[in-house]
Point group: D3
Chain length 323, copies 6
Amino acid sequence: MPRTDLPLAELPGYRAASTAPADFDDFWAQTLGEAARREAPVSAAVHRTPLTTLDVFDVGFPGFGGHTVKAWLTLPRARSGRLPCVVRFPGYGNGRANPLSALEYASCGYAHLVMDVRGQGTTDRGTGDTPDPEDSPHPHRPGFMTKGVLDPHRYYYRRVITDAVRAVAAARSFESVDPDRVAVVGASQGGGLAVAAGALAPGVAAVVADVPFLSHFRRAAEIASQGPYLEIAEYCRSYRDSAERVFSTLAYADALNFASRATAPARFSAAGMDAVTPPSTCYAVYNAYAGPKRMRLWEFNGHEGGDAFATEENLAFLAEHLG
Amino acid sequence: MPRTDLPLAELPGYRAASTAPADFDDFWAQTLGEAARREAPVSAAVHRTPLTTLDVFDVGFPGFGGHTVKAWLTLPRARSGRLPCVVRFPGYGNGRANPLSALEYASCGYAHLVMDVRGQGTTDRGTGDTPDPEDSPHPHRPGFMTKGVLDPHRYYYRRVITDAVRAVAAARSFESVDPDRVAVVGASQGGGLAVAAGALAPGVAAVVADVPFLSHFRRAAEIASQGPYLEIAEYCRSYRDSAERVFSTLAYADALNFASRATAPARFSAAGMDAVTPPSTCYAVYNAYAGPKRMRLWEFNGHEGGDAFATEENLAFLAEHLG
Amino acid sequence: MPRTDLPLAELPGYRAASTAPADFDDFWAQTLGEAARREAPVSAAVHRTPLTTLDVFDVGFPGFGGHTVKAWLTLPRARSGRLPCVVRFPGYGNGRANPLSALEYASCGYAHLVMDVRGQGTTDRGTGDTPDPEDSPHPHRPGFMTKGVLDPHRYYYRRVITDAVRAVAAARSFESVDPDRVAVVGASQGGGLAVAAGALAPGVAAVVADVPFLSHFRRAAEIASQGPYLEIAEYCRSYRDSAERVFSTLAYADALNFASRATAPARFSAAGMDAVTPPSTCYAVYNAYAGPKRMRLWEFNGHEGGDAFATEENLAFLAEHLG
Amino acid sequence: MPRTDLPLAELPGYRAASTAPADFDDFWAQTLGEAARREAPVSAAVHRTPLTTLDVFDVGFPGFGGHTVKAWLTLPRARSGRLPCVVRFPGYGNGRANPLSALEYASCGYAHLVMDVRGQGTTDRGTGDTPDPEDSPHPHRPGFMTKGVLDPHRYYYRRVITDAVRAVAAARSFESVDPDRVAVVGASQGGGLAVAAGALAPGVAAVVADVPFLSHFRRAAEIASQGPYLEIAEYCRSYRDSAERVFSTLAYADALNFASRATAPARFSAAGMDAVTPPSTCYAVYNAYAGPKRMRLWEFNGHEGGDAFATEENLAFLAEHLG
Amino acid sequence: MPRTDLPLAELPGYRAASTAPADFDDFWAQTLGEAARREAPVSAAVHRTPLTTLDVFDVGFPGFGGHTVKAWLTLPRARSGRLPCVVRFPGYGNGRANPLSALEYASCGYAHLVMDVRGQGTTDRGTGDTPDPEDSPHPHRPGFMTKGVLDPHRYYYRRVITDAVRAVAAARSFESVDPDRVAVVGASQGGGLAVAAGALAPGVAAVVADVPFLSHFRRAAEIASQGPYLEIAEYCRSYRDSAERVFSTLAYADALNFASRATAPARFSAAGMDAVTPPSTCYAVYNAYAGPKRMRLWEFNGHEGGDAFATEENLAFLAEHLG
Amino acid sequence: MPRTDLPLAELPGYRAASTAPADFDDFWAQTLGEAARREAPVSAAVHRTPLTTLDVFDVGFPGFGGHTVKAWLTLPRARSGRLPCVVRFPGYGNGRANPLSALEYASCGYAHLVMDVRGQGTTDRGTGDTPDPEDSPHPHRPGFMTKGVLDPHRYYYRRVITDAVRAVAAARSFESVDPDRVAVVGASQGGGLAVAAGALAPGVAAVVADVPFLSHFRRAAEIASQGPYLEIAEYCRSYRDSAERVFSTLAYADALNFASRATAPARFSAAGMDAVTPPSTCYAVYNAYAGPKRMRLWEFNGHEGGDAFATEENLAFLAEHLG
């Protein structure tokens, strides 16, 4: 995969204009307000695993529409007091997966909550347990990018972003969690959701967004050559006069527009040969980000980015901010 | 694409055991009974086109759950009395499409009703206008094959097959249609639905099932190398212990089990190099079919089968039976 | 398929210099003069179909070299007086196909003549019945793009373009056709031929060229990543010193050079993600077009362009100009 | 490329029934008789090369229809008396190529005549200089396999096989060649032609057929997954009722039918993982071969077979028989 | 990926004959004896990580030729007494990777030693730190399968298997490890090495071999369509007369021959749609296995097999045997 | 393959800055000095072939580290006095191959020495007989591009370039060779080595570098979309912080840096659609070349460049300079 996006030297300076509609803040205020009013108890049942150093809980919390969203909460077994917490959002197509597959945060002493992404969960590794009870009011491209995309209120990611914000609230509701030390993290879709949740959930202590998806949709739909951004172009290919309406809706879910409203310290990454979330789209969000920030470029990597090496650097970043 | 299914000489003799569960007939009787009780008026509004020899009506009829399902009804402008009617079901991924793209049936003097397949409609050509208001109670593979597949009552094709049966009733409700001369036709998904509707809707006059999909799911999921049967294998790949349950549900929608309950004269086709609906799966359904029948093998074709040449032969077959 | 041609914003302004050789007009005047002198009767035999609203005739007319070129003429059965006529040219690889596969024009009240493209006819759908009796005086790349390409007089498209012009004359010879209301239409290869025939046949009433092929060969051979333009690059790859001669010949068949000589009202389209006829090559021809014109961009489409939706818009355009 | 043809152990025993029509021998006797009656002088002009050990002549000889077929004759510069001669036929798509690219036979002391295959010559390496003046009387699939395939008398390979037989005569006409020591050799298409020419040209001293093409067409068209046999299946895919007629014509050009009429000593090879000329098709011809014979299996090779290592073994075989 | 190996129903009965040469046991006794005589101290340095529940040590132990082989030892921080130990071998292409990427065994209370595979470590995730100081005495296919393959004593996997046996000894040398409760585990290449080490290292308590590679090389080289078995076929393709010698060498490293010498309880898995280690090759080894055993078939999975779900089942199996 | 590198018009002016480290000349002086001190006799044994116009010798000469490097020396059998000599280096992956596969130089009266590239020799055609006795001090990407790439002294191409320089010395040691008329030639990897050897070996009479590889590594690693440059990007993808060190090492082997030190007359070529050695990287080296030079652009070719047609032109160039 050779480079096909902008030359590396142009990435740091790449900026994109805001696409936020006038009612962007109202839209989210109203959406989150409704969701908060649906507040219901968060459940957490012990989940049996062979782990001896960690405890796992099968969590259900009320998300958008009061729908129950599943999550795993993993805690160090030897714990005392309130722990800093890492709320994590999976990549596209994945659910919360088998809890054995993500032990690193709790093994570092954090409470770790990984949220199911409603409706997702059919990759080889990333099974899920949370349906999305609302279908699209119009036929949509298989996948999630265009589910309800003709109407901001019915759009799929309106629900998912709301879930992500409610996941932060759910995390704070556990007595083992210190509500002042909650970070939101993720890669790809998870990175886009972390930016959104970091901007919308008050008081988030840190944001980690690796190779963020849901970022700068217009450019992404034109230059991505692999991955879920293609669904957007494919939808517009069938519904030939829908593009304006599609991008109007997407603007409500674009990390670009959340970034400029964020204040928490953030760590971003981008990958120089990434055909799924091309680096210019990641830099656009990074450059729009209004809080303290740093960027890590994985120069020769594709969408895998830094993988475990990113995790290691992210853990150092979290240690700084969650102390 | 070389042959990869059984040798041609073995196809005519290929038979598969029924997979129908004990309550198969009850299941469908109850399902269709409920749908019939939801009966609501069929709407038909003139749709403006530049056509001068044909009239097109934008139809809405009550399908499964009373949900409105859209269709196009196309009639010869110069008509008198009640016409024989061809009810057609689209291939996978397609909706009712632009009415200009299927003029052949009405131009031959038939009333032609093409049904939207709920939720589908994102191929290059086959747009649709009918959502599927019910989502899956569990994450499913993008696409439709595993939407609700863990529960026969929630399974996507329970709704679509019901729609197909109701489409026959809707067709019969038009005064320009002779209710005794209604045929059901389709290719691929449309062929599978034609077999199902032909078995479930009483008094269907003829069935045409070209390269039928939804046929002999177990074998299909193991040997298809392209197309939507792959979604089934992919789902079972993620949800590793689900196969038994998945195939239990699919048995309620398998053309194999409808075929043995059918009585209308039917015309089938299969294609020797078809990697999407491998010919053995088509022959299995053909051989199970209980009514008068004939089979056309397109020896060197892939899933395109006979295309317009099939249409020509199908029209001759329909002329025999719809007179 | 991401965008790989010029940015959308640059397309409307993209212009290419004429490549017409000094004797371009003489070449075509002489070529068409010879063909006209070979004039022979146009045959039209009733072709039996199951259609009841339309009549189909199996047509043979004298094309280049007096060779018989086949066509289908489809007419509304209920007709009176002289009809406006749509002469259509197929896309690359296709012949006139099964007449059941293109009913839209006659169903709108037009006489519709679809021409065989000599030698072509081996796609899944587009069979043909017209051989090209002349082979190449030199080995050529399988396909048609380089058949005779070392000599403008022996070049394949000299014959096909002449056929296209003669098809207009043949259409006008039918008594059911109004010779003053003949349009030429086509997509891809058919679009390129429509531009050529529109420029060369006197008095054409309208031209429709969707995603036109045979357009701006030099650029096309360098940037197309799929489709028949590749044959040109492949030929030059084998015959390493032939490029200058090849492009000299192609200049006689380049829609770019016909466009600047055209006067009929024309409708063009281009597709933003078209890898077969990249949009800049379509805009180059559009911008060179000397008659009244409009352009439709299908922003997220590939070479399929607008498909049936284009047909609908084209029919509206034809209604304006063919009355 | 894993094995997909028969297991290795079954190859030696694989036999296919003759497909020769009743008039096979008459057909060829008449065809070759006509060609012989067109006899015209063979031309041979010195071709300038930088070679100092070999001389190259640009040859033209009368082939089918009296058409001039080009060839290169390469001779060792230091020669005396009459030399044994190797007549070689290129693989599909190739012409006689640059004479510098095949020096091995003349460098071993043989006269080496490599024939152009009419119409072919557009691979990266294998340019040609001989057109095929006859086109197909019907549209054919781009390439050569179905050019004229509906009529044995108009079929492309009737002309090429005749050329191959005439090439042997042309070789014998040179005074530097010993007419009693002429071998015919080739790989792939060249191997099929060597079997045909070895059977049809009287007194050929040896035949070498590496991974022969044009062999056992029926099976080949069903199992080959790459290469020119696919053209046959593709043609039958478009012209859906033509298969019987197609295979009737191909029977006149099938090496299977020539093999059973051959008497010269022959060396065959097959490759265990060959997707272009699957090994069972090569063994079918080998097992039908009526003369003294041996077979070399390149167990893990694809269509490249033995390449230069085959050449080395072939040269040893030729040394035995051309002495 | 459809099934291409034997039908599922035939897998349980699939057996392959032993390919062990007469000196197989002597070869390994001598090889391991030499390696044992090179015994040198095992080093283990604290490796700093952000983990708080686990400790990681950077280990170096003497492998084949006394070469230092690196490993990570991960232990629960809260530990006492001697722990049961899981020695793990990575899949093809991977080194020991970042220690954060495999926390599950130590988090379950085991000592976990993951060995570098010498020379490997260039996948996206699986970096390594151990070179293979010996190169091949002959050119070999890029990769490891044919490095030294012409001589059993110089063959790459002789060194790696020896490393694997020495890894067990190294693990037992730690005072935190109970030498009587050491299991060997791995997937793919790691599974093949686990079978080998389980057979060669005395007293191994349990073996886990998921979708084992290095198994039944002859069949594997003929039917695998993806992955490293292809290197073997590719080498034999270039060195056309080497196959016998190649497979003679491979017999010394074939899990088939280790399996019949094993006694420890073992858990195997195979995947029904695995194109890399086709299921019949896994069953061949399983059926040859001489100790107590069980097999898990992942019916619809490819080479990913059970992934984290396999881990969960494997942990239950280990709990039984390492208790 | 469309053009993806710079527009043709920009290629002639494309220049790249030198990347030579300060000690570049010292590094090579020392490296070659050491190799020269290891001087050992060159062996040359008659190799039996069926050739009658040429003699072949199986040569071994001392290369880097005194390791024996194999070569074929081919001479015209009829020879007298000292011959000009062509030393040739193979393309990536190839060894010296079968001597029958390259007869053109000796058949033109040159002594022709083709060198094995140590460790290489596993393409279909290019077998080799020379191992590389030194492995990498760190895991490297399968292939040769990153073998030892973290240390200039251990880097694979340090050894190969030294071999290439010693090959010139070996050629000069034969009494049939005129030491003042030795040219170095090659394509792809062979072209890069020719530039290096031409710069490092004193008194080389001419250099031919077709589509040279090992040229302008930084750009090449970013834009090549096929071929061995990808190994560099892939290594940097796994070892995420290694890029600076990798490119520091590569600078010692970059033809860019040899070119500016060369004085012999040189002929270069580049191919306009070359995805393996993109034309801008070839032009960068050409423009840096300090001796008399010419460039041949194969405008529509990929990495095959001019093939036999290049050979013909190269032979004319050699005739000028080797007399």
